[in-house]
Symmetry: none
Subunit: 153 residues, 4 copies
């Protein structure tokens, strides 16, 4: 991994920790910059706006979550168990987002589309994962055939 990517990761890590501990508004660019031993202005080279940094953190968390679920999918356990583990992980993830201040950032540039821009792709991935679990459950006879229909609308 090149130097730039490394710095980027370090910033992301620092930002994640700040956001988690103090929330979005109470974490300043100055502090995050200090954490990674950069000048505040330098942060703007990697992330053109605080909002972008936040988005990156959220997406990173979403990726981690998806990876965790994929790992579960590959385990040799019943679909029911997988569904249970999914729900458990989902709750934890939601709590994390709370800590990051996601729900308090009502003040983004275009308020109405935060949710969309932050979660659109993520929800699509999530649905696919659930679908996989359900299909497996149906195939193995654990769930009834009409157990759950996603993509109905």
């Amino acid at each position: 991994m090149d130097k730039t990517k490394e710095k980027e990761q370090a910033i992301l890590k620092a930002a994640r920790e700040r956001f988690a501990q103090f929330g979005f508004n109470k974490s300043t660019m100055d502090e995050i910059a200090s954490d990674v031993e950069l000048g505040k202005a330098s942060l703007y080279y990697y992330f053109p706006a605080k909002e972008d940094l936040f988005r990156a953190v959220i997406h990173h968390e979403q990726d981690e979550f998806v990876k965790a679920i994929e790992k579960i999918l590959n385990q040799n356990i019943t679909a029911s168990k997988k569904l249970f583990l999914y729900v458990e992980n989902r709750l934890e993830f939601f709590e994390e987002l709370l800590n990051l201040g996601t729900l308090n950032v009502h003040s983004f540039s275009n308020t109405k589309s935060i949710y969309k821009s932050l979660f659109e792709n993520f929800h699509y991935q999530e649905l696919k994962l659930i679908q996989i679990i359900i299909n497996e459950g149906k195939r193995k006879g654990e769930f009834k055939k009409h157990f759950l229909q996603i993509y109905r609308n």
Copy 2:
């Protein structure tokens, strides 16, 4: 109700709505003042600091919650049902606090005692309410005698 108390209530209402929609930090005294058609300075006549306004809102919410639970206590239903309703209301209340930004106000004067100063008395009241439900359940034979011991220490 006299004029002053009325204004105070109006301010509290406006503040509650602002906090609920935008969180503590993103709600400004200016906006809240505008909502009740007062100058910003006038707000300070009723509440000496933003934090005080916030405290007042939280305590109001806690009172509402306690009243709701007390109403449930007086209903002619089983203790189990009461316990269920309690939990349900409790969850809703928690969500409301989240919206108000309670959990994101890491920046109060003395960070360590926010929780204490905001919830101390409330928790005491809550324990009493739960105790009442449990006692009733035991008396009526719904719960076993050793169901739950509060105040054990």
Copy 3:
């Protein structure tokens, strides 16, 4: 003394103490009002502006000083001793004015004439007192005839 004059004196006393302890700017009308158990608005019935209250305090101090000097004049001591006592009192008085914040109130309405409006008459009185002492000294042969000429310009 009627009730109004009494209140006025009480306010003056409170103001003097506040100014002496905290200076002009750091003494608020609210505090002074509280000290005499009046509403802030009521202060404005007696003194139409904070500046007026300040002026009144200063003038009161000046009167006290003049009275003290007059008392000295009437004592049965040498003119030299009187002159010495005068200087001593004068220094004390000056220090008091410092405490009241007189020298820091550069910010009155019309900056240039504060000094004038606050001290004009006082200086006139002062000169008269000194003149009396000097004349007495000359008359008694303590001072030479050309000791000091006031009113020269």
Copy 4:
């Protein structure tokens, strides 16, 4: 001298002049910033708080005073004359502090230790200077051996 130090000096100069003419409270950060053709916010880049700016001004004045005394010490004059010049300068310096509003800043963070934090080191230096003069006076026979004992305790 680099640009930053220059700006810092310019700010210090502007602040000193403002404080001297209007006192601490009546000098605003906005005005001082304007004087050096900076935005108010930029002042905070150099001095994190108004109080810090004030402290810096005071310390600068103290340094100037000490330098002036040191210059006197090196002159080829009697110790008595040096002592006289010291007292003269000291009085002037005291007046300057008065003008800066030092004695009217009753409102610092921790009132009791302003004096300490502003003058502690300065007093130590002053004592050393006086000691030097006295020792010289004793050595040259100008002062009696028991003239003055500093550091007696």
